[in-house]
Amino acid sequence: MADLIVNGSALSIDEAGVDPHTTVLDFLRDRGLVGTKEGCAEGECGACAVALVREGPGGRTTYVPVNSCLTLLGSVLGGELITVEGVRPSAEALHPVQAAMVEAGGSQCGYCTPGFVVSMFAEYYRHERPAWDPEAIAGNLCRCTGYRPIRDAMRSLGAPAGDDRFLARLEQPAPRLGGLTQLRTRTEGPRRLLRPASLAELLDQLAATPEAKIIAGGTDVVVEVNQRHARWPVLISLEAVAELRRVELGDEQVEIGACVSLSDVEHRLDHALPLLDELFPLFSSRLIRNRATLGGNLVNASPIGDSPPALLALDAELELVSRAGSRVVALAEFFTGYRKTVLAPGEIVATIRVPRRAPTHAHFYKVSKRVLDDISTVAAAFALELDDGGTITKARLAYGGVAATPARARAAEDALLGRPWTRETVAAVEPLLASAFTPMTDHRGSADYRRAMTARLFEKFFHETAAGRRLGPQPPPVQHRVHSQGVRSS
């Protein structure tokens, strides 16, 4: 038997009697905790949000809101979480977050409300919260209110009182997730979930079960579980592999463990890579970034992943490891075709290495139907280095959504070298950009639009560097998340 601590009480789970594809959402609802709702089963609506109690950056215990529909039970077993039922302090009283939602008129049909409450709850207790982060609730969809009262509810909140028991919980350590030998079904042809506790154990398991499906954050794999009813005989969760969860800020480069959540990457980079600061707010939602990993986003090899264009523009390299040893591959050489990479069986991405030297000009762009929490129609990242005379000495023009893989426009990059960064130069390379890719038409956009964006985004980049400011609608201002710059909330 293994335990999951839910709202302060341990729930026991028979590890030999549960399908490893079981999500935390289904588990909670089966156990009668029906306040947590399923709205979309693909991590877009946040109605299923629960707060994990986790060790955050700096070793401090933190509430981490996640989509329980995309979180496998096997990834969090042995851990602790809080559901909407646990937020209410007593039958007589509401939590300040709940009271604020009631007062502001933040619920109509009420179905999305538990998710908003959990997202807001976690934000309420965020360490050194200098201001409300609008992104805290940008991964929650509401179809009734139009959001204004929910936003007002969040803004009306003060800091937790000193004797707040949820604050007190953060003073205690979070459970450390160790390995899990296996979670399996009882039926014939059993399905298993393995959770290795070290890199060595992981590589051994991979060598033994090359057919295993690897789960990092699960934000893509579990969508397949829910929607396509995908089932694998063996799942391997990377949740407890410490070696994949490090971030090192060196003088020359940063090393990002493949399984660090994007939110943690954002915190721990501490603005070391300004281009990624532009990427993060446009990368899905806070609820997703609390689980999704850079490694997952790269290995997934989707042509519309958001991080590859930015990392390509920054000349990132990947360290790949297997039982046979490790090798380093430039990200530009990593993708070999639609959802294909150079990874060999039994091999994983361990680390993403990014040079720290900042380009003279660099920006990230994402064109989508919605500013926040959407999938790219086209994404682009541009990085230029200019010498003292203003001549282009290095150019990286990287795109997503225009080819079978994330890709650089190499002909245009070459054509830029040795030229001044002027309107004329942009005009000169535009034909090269227009013919660089042969994008497709799909439900996100037409081929013509994607082709147009390939050139127009680069033109926009020029105008922004000339104007010294970003042009057009921007995501809500991202506040500094650097701990040292914050003020303690209580």
């Binding site: 009668g32 905790l33 029906v34 306040g35 709702k37 399923e38 709205g39 979309c40 089963a41 693909e42 609506c45 559901t83 039922e85 509401l94 977050v97 009271a99 939602m101 009631v102 008129g105 933040g106 619920s107 109509q108 049909c109 009420g110 179905y111 409300t113 409450v117 940008a138 969809l141 179809r143 009734c144 209110t145 139009g146 959001y147 204004r148 009262p149 936003r151 969508v223 929607q227 009813h229 762009y365 064109v367 989508s368 139907k369 919605r370 500013v371 926040l372 959407d374 999938i375 129609t377 439900h443 996100r444 639009y449 127009r456 033109e459 926009k460 105008h463 057009g472 609608p473 921007q474």
Partner: protein
């Protein structure tokens, strides 16, 4: 202190925020050994079902039964209007239509079972697009026509005229709670249906039909819905029917819950529309004549498409007097989901078209859009094209003037122009549009409602009424009306779940009419009880019954109304009444007076009254990508005397954002083979917090009492959705600004996604260039 008019939170708000408010599927744990259902989906949009072999599926562990047409004891038919919807079809009419349902011990097993059912199909040619349907003359209705004046002659005589067309996308309801139902046998051997339905009486009727039993054998409860927006007016019925048939076949409780992908693939949406028109106007921009043709994409069956088309016909004038108007609407039949009710019910489609036309007229005469709109407003005494007097037409001008002043429209218009001159790549647009929306079901017989109010000996009260709660705050308003009706605090009243065994033969909670109809019924029930109790109180207090006042839980002579100790408590009075054998319960019934419409002549008074409003929206557009942001929205809306201001403001701003989604980010894409390509939240984009403008100012029109409606209020559910048309017009203004010195028309596709805006800019620039070359 009266409860009506107080800005109180939603009656279930504490339950919502704590997760304690339950929805249909949350009740599952109360049923012993329920079965779970999963559909067998057709991979074709149109095909004959040659055979269904359930053998392999039924041999799987935990699969209990595969339901097919042979399991239906009654009629294999769930169509709400025309009986054209077989529950188990022998001919598939849209991609992913369910041809059979698998019942199993778990969802997991039911899904595996559905994959194991072998179905042999004979594919048939499918009509997917509206163009294909029109070419094939594939219709669900005859042409519906309303005509006034002499449109042909007036068009010929008009000094200026032009033609145009506009296509409008559909909209997925995306209620957060997907379709859900549980059917179980009760202790009397009758079937009890829990359903997330807006129309429990019709769900009851459809279940009785498929079971072949009288209505009295079926009880349906709608506890509360996690959103509906019209999507559960008829479309909850088939799933209740599947559950009922399954419960009949297995003698076990059956749960049907669609997940999001199923819900999007199987259920109907807002109708896509296609408008073609010719309009004539004078030099100043006055519309002289309009000849308008509307087609809607009804999908595979009729559903509510006829009244939806009628509402589009009734609203293609919006706030404007068009002296010569002919509008013809016809519903196309395609092999797609059966499109259905969605907040506004055809009204939004009609209104977008006329607003599109007005901007073109304004550009044609080179005048600001807001001036040309005001020039064409209805005035007091005017009649619509269907002959109804536009009562309170003066409110249009009053709202228009007041909103422009409040939102500083003139100054901001100048600022926007200055900004646009100074910025080559980012243009702003500012627009104001009005709304006039007719209130009543256009099928007159639906305009009735009932209530059942029960007072217990301890003075506590239960209120039942025929309306359902989907988040719109209906129960909150009913509590306020009941509390005032009996002079008690809100806490004394309990609002009961909507059930067909409490109030029979109810209408759908739809057409924004829920609180008008049910509120009047609740009030009438309360009035009867209060009058009886006044007699008891008068005798006890030694005063005349007419001098007794009920307030704050006490019953006192009116001259002692401030005295907390005077008179009797409501509880004491209820106890006395019981002893004296005075009945403590009453039914209330209401029907809307004096409404009718003659489809033959296209004349009548289909609406009891009109709700009015206007909105001003400011946008900014990125010329490189077509991406945009909503900078500010100001709304002034007419809800009469608000029964519940917090609820009403919530309806207005929520409706606006929902309309904004329809008009901008929410794009339904069907593949050539009829497959819905956008069938999840990752591909179909609702507004998020990011779309909510930082400045979002909502005000209720003051001094706007509506004397013919309960408590002087007005319906509020649907009208605000159409305020979002101001955002579309603002986008068109910004698009035009990229094409200095100007364009004669801005063609902007709907929904106006960034891509649509990008191409609109492209076209506008081309038109502007063409014009300057010609000059």
């Amino acid at each position: 202190m009266t409860q009506v008019g107080k800005a109180i939170p939603h009656e279930s708000a504490a339950g919502h925020v704590s997760g304690e408010a339950l929805y249909t599927d949350d009740l599952l744990a109360r049923f012993a050994a329920p079965l779970h259902a999963w559909p067998v989906l057709s991979p074709h949009a149109h095909a004959r079902v040659v055979s269904i072999d359930a053998g392999a599926a039924e041999a799987l562990p935990d699969v209990v039964k595969v339901l097919t047409a042979s399991d239906v004891p009654g009629e294999n038919e769930v169509g709400p209007a025309r009986h054209d919807e077989p529950l188990f079809p022998d001919e598939v009419q849209f991609h992913n239509q369910a041809v059979a349902w698998v019942l199993a011990e778990s969802v997991e097993a039911a899904r595996a079972g559905a994959a194991a059912v072998a179905v042999d199909y004979e594919p048939l040619p499918a009509i997917v697009t509206m163009d294909q349907a029109l070419a094939a003359q594939s219709f669900l209705t005859d042409p519906l026509t309303i005509s006034s004046g002499e449109p042909a002659e007036a068009l010929a005589a008009a000094p200026h005229s032009f033609s145009g067309e506009l296509r409008l996308g559909g909209q997925e309801h995306f209620y957060l709670e997907t379709q859900a139902t549980i059917a179980a046998w009760d202790e009397a051997g009758e079937v009890f249906i829990h359903s997330s339905t807006q129309h429990p009486s019709e769900t009851q009727e459809v279940v009785a039909r498929v079971l072949g039993v009288p209505l009295r054998m079926v009880t349906c409860q709608s506890l509360r819905m996690g959103g509906a927006f019209g999507g559960k007016e008829t479309q909850a019925n088939p799933y209740a029917a599947v559950a009922a048939v399954g419960a009949h076949a297995t003698a076990r409780p059956v749960r049907v819950r669609l997940d999001r992908q199923l819900d999007m693939a199987l259920t109907g949406k807002r109708h896509p529309f296609w408008a073609r028109y010719r309009v004539g106007h004078d030099d100043e921009g006055r519309i002289l004549a309009l000849d308008l043709e509307l087609y809607s994409d009804g999908g595979w069956s009729l559903d509510l498409s006829t009244p939806i088309m009628y509402r589009a016909l009734f609203h293609c004038d919006n706030c404007y007097r068009i002296p010569n108007l002919r509008v013809v609407g016809r519903v196309l039949r395609t092999h797609k989901t059966s499109q259905t009710a969605f907040r506004g019910f055809g009204g939004p489609q009609g209104m977008v078209v006329i607003e599109d036309i007005l901007d073109r007229v304004a550009r044609a005469v080179a005048r600001p859009g807001h001036e040309v709109r005001a020039l064409n407003f209805y005035r007091e005494g005017d009649r619509t094209h269907y002959g109804q007097l536009v009562r309170d037409a003066g409110r249009i001008e009053r709202i228009w003037t007041s909103l422009r002043a409040r939102a500083d429209f003139g100054r901001r218009l100048a600022e926007v122009e200055a900004h646009n001159h100074a910025n080559e790549h980012e243009k702003r647009g500012l627009a104001i549009t009005p709304v006039r929306f007719g209130i009543s079901f256009t099928a007159s017989f639906f305009n009735q409602a009932g209530a059942l109010v029960l007072v217990y000996r301890d003075g506590s009260i239960q209120v039942n009424h025929g309306g359902t709660e989907m988040g719109q705050g209906l129960h909150t308003k009913m509590l306020q009306i009941a509390a005032d009706g009996l002079g008690v605090p809100l806490e004394a009243v309990r609002l009961m779940p909507t059930r067909t065994d409490k109030v029979p033969n109810t209408s759908a909670t739809a057409a924004s009419s829920g609180s008008d109809l049910n509120g009047a019924a609740v009030e009438r029930a309360c009035t009867q009880i209060r009058e009886r109790l006044a007699g008891v109180a008068a005798a006890a207090l030694g005063v005349a019954p007419g001098d007794v006042e009920f307030s704050e839980g006490r019953v006192r002579p009116f001259w002692q109304a401030e005295d907390p100790e005077a008179g009797l408590s409501f509880a004491e009075l209820a106890g006395r009444a019981y002893i004296q054998r005075v009945p403590l319960f009453a039914t209330g019934y209401y029907r809307t007076p004096k409404i009718h419409f003659d489809e033959q002549t296209g004349r009548g008074k289909p609406f009891h009254y009109f709700a009015y409003g206007a909105a001003i929206t400011e946008v900014e557009v990125d010329g490189f990508t077509g991406q945009f942001s909503i900078r500010r929205v100001d709304i002034l809306h007419d809800v009469g005397d608000s029964i519940s201001p917090k609820v009403d403001i919530g309806q207005i701003e929520g409706g606006f954002i929902q309309g904004l989604g329809w008009l901008t980010s929410e794009e339904l894409v069907w593949a050539d083979d009829g497959r819905l390509a956008t069938r999840g939240a990752s591909t179909y984009k609702l507004p998020t917090l990011g779309e909510c403008p930082e400045q979002f100012n909502i005000e209720l029109l003051p001094s706007a009492s509506e004397p013919s409606v309960v408590k002087g209020s007005k319906a509020v559910g649907e009208p605000p959705l159409m305020l979002a048309i101001s955002a579309r017009e603002a986008l068109r203004a910004a698009v035009a600004a990229f094409a200095e010195p100007g364009v004669d028309a801005v063609e902007l596709a709907c929904p106006s996604t960034p891509e649509a805006v990008y191409w609109a800019i492209d076209r506008a620039r081309a038109r502007a260039v063409g014009r300057s070359a010609a000059e």
